[in-house]
Amino acid sequence: MSVAQGVTITKTGQAGAFGGEILTVNFGPHHPSTHGVLRLIVDLDGEQIRRIKPVIGYLHTGIEKQMEALRWQQGVVVTDRHDYLSPPINNLAYALAVEKLMGVEVPPRAQVLRVIMSELTRLSSHLVWMGTSGLELGAMSMLMYCFRERDTILDMNEEISGFRMHTSYIRPGGVFADATPRFLELLDKFIGSMPAHVDEYENLLTMNPIWRSRTIGIGRLSPEDAKVLGASGPMIRGSGIAWDLRKAMPYSGYENYEFEVATSNDCDCYGRYLVRMKEMRESVKILRQALDRLPDGPVNVDDRKMLPPPREELETSMEAVIHHFKLFTEGYSVPAGDAYVAVESGRGENGCYIVSDGTHKPRRVKFRSASFVNLQALERMALNHMVADMIAIIGTADAVLGDVDR
């Protein structure tokens, strides 16, 4: 047994196809190329992968258990933290599920703000994917370019919610606060500049011979396999199936926006890369439409039993003080029952299943995370590939380990 860089090797005694012996090699969990703490047990014949077994759970934080101990409105803060690259989309799934059970519809301005935040998040999540995958496959400068644009998105997060990453911006009943004029100004500037930046990334990678040889034909996932294995997001669209929840089962008014579902028939790592690039362009298109049509009006439902009264009312109205006190000591209760809502995150179907027993805390909250399901396709994709290709395959599967382990 030898240990180097978090890699442990054991001999299996089985003969391989190249005259050698099949070795069981352990990668991670603290291996730099596994996007967090993913551990892989790989059977290697020479450099070819004969079996691959992901071992997960190193980032398990008991989020579903914590949710049961928090009141409905407090849970939002925890939802931010499972898929830590797309907090507002996690918030949205949870908020929509709670609203579905309560039968609440949020005002139009809140709907559009939710769409804006979702698309900004998708962009920032794809940018992180692009930067880190580029880094892993030898395109070192991608990280610098992608994080430059991501930083402007984080600035916008800060402007609208006060937080750069874990925004807790979308919450049951509406959003945290109205968009400030400066936010809209930043957004307008961002929409103007982003298409040129996407061109820049494509110039660097799409026809780059190193990038192409590392991704084309690697990690094939046939459309049938993608369906059977329950893959979603760029994983299924990269296999040529135009399945996007924003189109298939629209929420938050996505049916009113014009955009294309990005697909690629390549069914390999390169296809998934092309899908993400196209999706970034489509997101910018949605952002432009959303900004143009942003209606005036309130951003929260007018329900004092669900959301606190405005600060000014507290000084003049006894009723408002009572509502405020009740909400922050006891919270609101949600009618007994269960509801499931799925939204499209940067990684695929991000669902939230909630069960209420009629009290002010959830009985059960289950996050259906895209990464958890997509990672199960890893074995199908990586079989008989080289070890180095495994890095490309894990990269383009884009599993966020916080989302896998929750």
């Binding site: 759970g57 258990k65 049961e68 059970l101 329950g230 298939a248 069960v355 009985r363 289950k366």
Partner: protein, 161 residues
């Protein structure tokens, strides 16, 4: 629709259609629904109804299967109730491959045993963990600090929880 003998109860919760099937015939029911076009198991999970006063529950654990028809976009939730220690139900991972990890997770966090599962081991918690954390009688914040003497004692406790 699958044979009515397999359906105990049906209804709609917040716009989502659901049916309840007997726990011993859950594999048959899901196989029937799969051949009717519900090809995707979105997720599978468990709800612990310990001391849940919102209504009468047939058993403590409710296993929930969320199915989707990718062509008609219909969704259906299938419920099955199980009791006992350990609670047991048939695995459906031969029908729906994504159920493999979902069932391991449900075993890990709720202690539900899935019959005929090829590799029913813990997935999120460490292999030597004692107890099933998402059960309602498992306390929040009950775990001891790692590398402390208490932790050592607790980790080597006999497995009975």
């Amino acid at each position: 629709m699958i044979a009515d003998t397999l359906i105990i109860d049906r209804g709609v919760s917040a716009g989502d259609a659901w049916i309840t099937v007997p726990s011993e015939s859950v594999h048959d029911a899901l196989a029937g629904l799969r051949s009717e076009g519900y090809r995707l198991l979105t997720f599978l999970t468990c709800v612990d109804h310990l001391a849940d006063a919102s209504r009468e529950w047939p058993a403590r654990f409710e296993i929930v299967y969320q199915l989707r028809n990718l062509d008609s976009r219909e969704q259906l939730r299938v419920r099955a109730f199980v009791d006992g220690e350990p609670p047991k139900i048939d695995s459906v991972q031969d029908l729906f491959p994504p159920a493999n990890w979902d069932e391991r997770e449900t075993f890990d966090l709720f202690g539900i045993v899935f019959n005929n599962h090829p590799d029913l081991t813990r997935i999120l918690m460490p292999d030597d963990w004692v107890g099933h954390p998402l059960r309602r009688d498992y306390p929040v914040g009950g775990e001891t600090v790692e590398f402390s003497p208490e932790h050592e004692k607790w980790q080597t406790a006999p497995e009975e929880a």
